[in-house]
Amino acid sequence: MQRRTLLSWMAALGIGRAQEPFPGGQAANLRALARVVLPSAVDAASAADGFAQWVRGYRAGAEMDHGYGFTRLRTKPALPVASYAKQLAALGPEPSAEAVAAALEEAKVAELPRTPDGRHVASDLMAWYFRSSDANDLCYRAAIGRDKCRALAGSENPPKELR
């Protein structure tokens, strides 16, 4: 492969590109969005910070799982961080549920993504949280700890109830 081709591929995948700062000047708007799209039982500020940290830790171009029965090699696409910032700016500091729903309609987001897929910052924030082990615990009001490592002993009992 020619160096130029390689570089153009890398650019398209976002490999080697410095991740744009996130949420940059939109931190307040991201927290405001979290208050609307996440459950009230969740600390919206810390969830917004957690999502921002997740975005900063994202590695465009990283190998994706090619597990058993799924043999196509794939890499992680670039996250549209610049679009996130524009979407947050458009939603403003006090987004209403209606405005968020309208934005998701406009972005043609039909389902909650399995993992954040870059279509809209609201659905990606929701996917990041609602697909998490913590959200699973909140739904079942139980300390399941799906993504934690836990002792075998006691697993024959229902997980401890969360209030």
Partner: protein, 530 residues
Amino acid sequence: MPVHESDVCIIGGGISAAVLALKLSELRPGISITVIEAGNKLFDLENRMRYRQRSIEYAENPWPGDFIEDQTAKGVISRTMAVGGSALHWGGTCNRFSEEDLRLKSMFGLYTDWPIEWAELEKFYCEAERRLGVSGEPSPHPEDRRSEPYPMAAMAMTHNLIELRRWAEKTGIPFQTTPQAKNTQPYDGRAQCIRCNTCTICPTGARYSPDFTFKRLLARKNFALHERTLVRKLVLAEGRPAVAAAQAVHRDRPEEALEYRAPVFVLASGYCWSPHLLLLSACSRFPNGLANSSGLVGRYLCGHAFLSAFIEIDARIYPGMNEQHGLISRQFFRVPRGGGFVRHDLRVWESASGHEPRLRAGDGRVLLGDALLADWRARSRRGTARVRGYYDVHPDRESSLTLDDSARNRWGDPMPAIRHRPDAATEAREPAVREHFRALFDRLAKNDNGKILSTSAGNYWDHPAGGCRMGTDPAASVTDSFGQTHDHENLFVVGSPTLPNAGCTNGTLTFTALTLRSAERIAERFRRNG
């Protein structure tokens, strides 16, 4: 050209190579063994917790670098090429086949018999379970008798599995927990399972993977592991049908040819790459490929088909307690007298299917925040069982791996094309099998207010094997029951390729047991003090 010499040259570095090399080194400590693997060596247990976390948070590959970009096959179901092979990221399921699998012809007039007695295989099942470290509980069926107990007590059933077993056994079908190569206590220098719920990337080593065996082997002075080295051809000795050398290339030095010489060669590259290498090694004396005077190298590729259902029931299931541990019933391994031939296992796991968070309500409204959570909670009051049956299908001769001239790797070698095809008898009974499963899923759903959410049929044959099937007749098989090829007295094939059929449950334990048996035959070629 660099030439590497050893007593035994094993091509392929997966689970079969690992157990074979270790047993050979124990039986004949004086012999030298070289394992050649095309993929990378991923022995960094210390990084696996981090890889696991990246996989959970970002869906990244938990085994980075476990493939070779241009070394692939049409129809293959795993891209993994690394030291440890597919067993790096297997689930650890260690079911045994049953005697019926070995006696299809004599018991049912179908397909073929294996050239090995059940009692003989059972002995090596016990050894395989000891070496891999299998935890399990005895089967309730007397036909599944064992000559030794499992090395470790079964994995504790979670609350979810207790609920699911209670539900499933209301049908009168007995279930047990699935035996697994996972430590329920510290075993063989590896840790006890701490239920990380990500068995395909076990961060603690509680689930067996071949890298542990290779690490042990590397501490021995007569063992060499050459990773990132692709064997491209086997070459015969002048004037006799013995393999003299394996020609290879190191992926970091693509211009430099390598040669491996040994009195014994063992192919341990799995159902895809073992027959592929034999076909690539065609020469004037064997124009159809080595070991292929029967014309059956790459033929009778087998596996099992599967049917699945998600069934919602009145049970409090908490998704995520231990999703990869499940139940199995072996009741349908036997065929009732007077009934049609339908053989399968029956598996049950916890599931979140049908109870996952959703963005839109049934009427299309967007759900946000507390509304989404309330909708999710309302739909999660009941539990879901994931049910699957792997059923017995038998391959046609045309179920095959062939060389595909339209797809080549960087060295110009044609890559394999795999096409599974059932034999006529299997095709003829498919409607009856489907009807049997439909009735079975209905029977399960009759209890606890069950509702079948969905059913599906697999679109590939799982746990693939075959391509160098074993047998007594050199005209109808590639190897004998020890994996020794009929055509070349110093060339063996071990692992999944030698299976004539893939049974109706996971095959790893079976081909590991057969490989351990092959080790004894190969060791006999060397003096005890050799």
